[in-house]
Symmetry: C2
């Protein structure tokens, strides 16, 4: 049943695998055969339900009453489905989504003192410190400046923490990987603001502080990459930011730890060294096997996960569509390989186009399951040559004292009954 798939990682936008070849595969016992054998198609209009009268047109299009889709609140690793007042994050239902954009209201949420709904008429952003001027901007000021839009993933540095230490076979992909999302963000380039206040050239660090009660504040190194790519966003997926995602303004730091994308942004201070806030001493410091720690490990590494089939699903023998998401803080995903025999052999999955840098990209592959127990797993490669590590090599390198930046390959086991389970392999 295994076959080599063509490498479709070309640069053409919206590349889809030529269908004629797929149809041949399908017609020869793959897709069409399985579908028709398994699902008793009808063949006439009598099999199609009658047409229906509809509801009035409104100011907004709500979801179908038949669509049940939502995030799940958590209070940390292993503390799932908690009371919302105890929650510190809320995870995306990756297995129920399509394409690469995360629906605005389902973008993952992580906060340290809830999500304030700030009054945009009163909100201000202060730029100060080592600069020629210090200035305070309103939301209207920002929206009158040159803007940019960019699809970018934001990922909690704790994404994947569920699988760091022990296997819970009842986890879904929402539990294991639900702290990453991709939206189209719109805002003002950081470089524009930096030039407006005239940052001192000796200032190599910036403090970004949020307007929530916790006052999350992080020191950010002003590398060329960050100066060229970071921006202060006021829009997501075409509309104003939602309160949970930083309304009325947040920092967006494509490719870097979620907690650096400071929400409810109230000030940017320029300096020549990090501020060593409690967010970079007590938290967000990576503890290694030997007891030493790494501070400012800021970039999110190359990652991928199969979203379907995934944990707690049940599949039937025959044709399966394997699909998932890949992303890298280093740049663009250039390849996702999938193994359906427990990492013994690998095939290139199809990547949906365009595969934008520092954004999630959808991958997919067709597969015919022979009904025998097996393990499925994906691994991604980015355009800087980084390859997603196995769990063994990841643990060997990082140890088990750490809590952040887990990007090991995710294995799903399938038993003889088609039940899919989370395993550590």
């Amino acid at each position: 049943m295994m076959r080599k798939q063509r490498d479709l990682t070309t640069d053409r936008p919206h590349e889809i695998e030529p269908v004629s070849r797929r149809s041949l595969i399908a017609a020869s016992g793959g897709l069409a055969g399985s579908l028709i054998a398994g699902q008793a198609f009808g063949e006439s209009l009598a099999d199609v339900p009658p047409r229906e009268v509809g509801a009035d047109l409104g100011a907004r299009s709500e979801r179908s009453k038949f669509v049940k889709i939502g995030r799940i609140p958590e209070a940390g690793p292993g503390k799932r489905n908690v009371d919302p007042s105890d929650a510190i994050n809320s995870k995306v239902p990756l297995h129920k989504l399509f394409g690469s954009i995360t629906p605005t209201d389902l973008h993952y949420e992580r906060s340290h003192s809830g999500a304030p709904d700030l009054d945009p008429a009163k909100h201000r952003l202060l730029l100060h410190g080592m600069a020629r001027k210090q200035l305070v901007f309103s939301v209207d000021d920002l929206q009158s400046m040159p803007s940019m839009s960019r699809a970018a993933f934001i990922e909690c540095t704790g994404n994947g923490w569920e699988n760091w230490h022990k296997a819970d076979e009842n986890l879904t992909v929402q539990n294991t990987h639900g702290l990453v999302s991709t939206n189209e963000w719109t805002g003002v380039p950081l470089k524009f603001l930096v030039d407006l206040v005239g940052k001192d050239k000796n200032s190599t660090w910036m403090l970004a502080e949020g307007g929530d009660a916790a006052g999350v504040a992080r020191s950010i190194p002003l590398t060329d990459e960050i100066l060229n790519e970071a921006f202060v966003a006021y829009g997501q997926n075409g509309e104003p930011l939602r309160p949970a995602h930083g309304f009325p303004m947040r920092l967006v730091m494509p490719g870097f730890e979620g907690n650096l994308n400071i929400k409810w942004l109230r000030r940017l201070k320029f300096g020549d060294q990090p501020w060593m806030t409690r967010w970079e001493t007590a938290r967000y410091t990576q503890l290694h096997a030997d007891g030493k720690a790494t501070q400012f490990q800021l970039r999110m590494d190359t990652n991928s996960v199969i979203a379907s089939p995934s944990g707690t699903m049940t599949i039937k023998p025959g044709y399966q569509r394997i699909t998932g998401l890949a992303w890298s803080g280093h740049g663009s995903i250039t390849r996702v390989e999938v193994s359906t025999d427990g990492a013994k052999t690998w095939m290139n999955a199809q990547l949906n186009r365009p595969a934008l840098p520092k954004a999630q990209v959808r991958f997919q592959m067709d597969w015919v399951w022979d009904g025998k127990p097996t393990n499925i797993v994906s691994r991604s490669t980015d355009d800087k040559g980084n390859v997603q590590p196995t769990r063994k090599s990841f643990i060997a390198a990082v140890g088990t004292n750490a809590l952040f930046h887990y990007n090991a390959q995710q294995t799903w086991s399938i038993d003889k009954n088609g039940k899919v389970r989370n395993v550590l392999d």
Copy 2:
């Protein structure tokens, strides 16, 4: 005040205009000068409101209570803000949006008998007619097939009809151009389905029929372009289609009339000639000045509109950010020019990247208004060389009997008090 802007229409993704040059402009009396002169910035943290405690994390992120944003229902040209039960369409607030993606719940809506909320467990899609097999597919069947995702604009063929005949100076850009939107759609390539049923090679037309009470049905020519680009979508912006947009499945026809993107799709029939449904005889036929009519004028032409400043807004002398959207059913937008002196001289606006084919693209340009009455206008050019026509040349070519495919340049006048008005120029 007028100056030539650099042509930034390169192929690099996420191209933004180099900031250093802009900052120089700003510092030399443009942006920063106007802002600081006009808006009394604060200069210290005392000017920034205190931090706030937030709400619990939830299953969804709702909009801010401070954000008032919605569509407006209409009953046809000149029949605005009607009772929803009389509405035949509902228009997007283009002047309140950012970037290129339209928020899912604000995507424009046009229907002929309301929006049914069909049960996806019961819904079926029949493929029949001139083909080797006829097959009926469920939603699950479709979702197990190879998928593609693509950002595409969909535009009602009546978009712009408000300005065809007479000037109403009180129109907003939502009134004049609110029947176009861009979402990331996910679904199954039409070609895959066509090959699955084994379409007869003599079949050059396809009938697509919707499951609403009106049973909107259109004949679609099976050109190579359409066979390669059309798809049956079940997802929009990452989630299942919303009922107003065709849940559980619709046809997406990038670049072609909105009404061809059949919602609540229930069958595709293959034939060798058009069916001449009432949707292509009584409606959606273009009546010319000489009384003759064009049927199957299906492609949407190159278009653009300035969304800010736009009708009913009031601006102040000094720095202005001009921004809007451009799109073409022929392919990619390669250039948007803006005139701030009533079409006497033109400058290239900056195009946000990536400028995807058959998707809306954001353009922007900075401008310092000298306080004198003037007209502002945009015109787009696509990669097939089509240039958006002036209203005069458009009317000269098409006449005033028609109702569809209006794509003339939109002029906004600005009076000495900064009041912006819709004019026909």
